[in-house]
Amino acid sequence: MRQAEDLILRDYIISAASEINAGGGTNGDNPTNLGVSDFSLVATTLDTNNAYKFTSGIEGMDRFGTGPVRSAYFMLSSTELQTDMDGLTGSGFLSQWNYPTNSSALPSEFGSVFNIRILTSSEAPVARGASANNNDVYYNTVTGKQGVTHINQDGFSMNLIYRDPYYSGMLAQNATLAVKFAQAQALTQDTAVRNLLCTRLSNLGV
């Protein structure tokens, strides 16, 4: 039931926050596909804007194939970008499985590039066929700690409502399943939020 409020927050951020078009890729589109320089640019922008990072980093360990993870902002990306991110392995991308320890990794965490840890979701925003060359444009929301907040108005958090058919109508035909909430989302510090727009290097073929 949290998906409803996640989608509301997602749409609010892409409607109200400013954007940066990826330019570090090689596909010649606008925006381009993701290049490691785009991650660096966004992290640098947020650093310059004095945004707070979410995590303090993971210290390196003596384990094969692993590497330390920098202190980082979180970025929400589409699962459809995972192939492009895998393609950056060796040039900046570190899979979550290559963290020194992934005990602190979130279940949806795919990996990290420099100062950004990437969460992927099938519900991340995509504008289909909206790039200069008619490709899909992916909105990767990068936020600092103080960028966005979520307010339960008057303590009214989300309620799941189920009324069985007996109570939902005098003919007892239909049940009611719904969620109800009185919540608001707010950009508390606009300089700590950026939507990094990108396209894909190549089509998924799906």
């Binding site: 109200a16 400013s18 330019g23 804007n49 504008a127 239909n174 300089t191």
Partner: protein, 378 residues
Amino acid sequence: MTEYSRSAKGSFTQAATGNNVVIYLPFQPTRVDLVNYTAFANFAASDIPEAHWDVIMGQGTAACTYVGSGPVYSTAVVTANGISTFGAGLSLQFGAKQQIASIAKASPTVVTTASAHGYNVGDVVMMEGLYQSSTTGMPQMSGMLFQITAVGSTTTFTVTWNSNQSNYTALSGSPTGAYVMKVLYPFLYLPGQNFIEAINTTTGLITTTTNHNYVVGQQVAFRIPTQWGTTQLNSLPDTLIPGQPIYYYVSAVNSNTTFTIAGFPTGATAYTSNIAVSAVPGLTPPQVVAVGDVNSGGFPYTGGALYPSPTFPTFSGGVMTMNGPGIAGAFVNNTRQGFVIGSGNASYQGTPDTSSHLSGETSDVIYWQAFIDDLSSP
């Protein structure tokens, strides 16, 4: 009526012949009935006294009674721009892609589509693939949202942008991949991110490509990449108070797409949208975003009641959202649903009468009923 059926009714007086009328409801109807009381009372040629619509007929249609020349009472249908429903859902939903046939270099820019576009003034569109060749065209306009300011014909429309510049090349011959598509729900959250069409560094007048939806006293921030010139407006770096973002206040709302800011920096670099095509990959558009309402302080608020019911757009032609009173300039969720009564023509035995309008003529009084049924069967 059984368990979940809903119905609603109301009336309105048509402001001007040819206007579409939007009815906001807490549901999307599957059936609508209209009665034009004025047409019943006057009985003149080209009137549409009553009309009926069912979702199974298709969006933008209606079956109606019609007064033909004579006058004679008859029946007819509306095949386009009739009754349709809408429901603002999620962002980033687009209408069908339409091939762009040509775009001449001009300011404002007039776009010609290969077939009838069906757009109205106020619709928001996005264009892409605006290349005449791999190195020429108008790709600088790609990816931005534009509000249609005029509809010249069934295949042309106008957007606010200066394409009559040296780095722009006219499009012709329906270039492959040159498309325009309508943004179905462009203003779900207000005031949203806006793209900048022009900045007058002398007067401080900012022109946006869509309705900016700002109010006087609104706090705004600019994101202007280097290529566009006027980077002095950007939030950072602030050399006076390090780490403190530079924000501006809207001092005047000059139109739905223009506003003036207070404290415009002196000696600011001229704004330019004459970007080279070779610089387009990775080009970020110039933007202005709202960062505070009129209650943010720092600017004397003179806009009237501090807690009005918000109407958008903010300069003229504003319509209330479903929300109640709120702080002027604060973000508003604009989710709406209901139906639209279009100004389509009655078509009698296949011949449309262009003088007839489903939504009536100036001062017509029209009553409507809308229903959503428990069960429907095609």
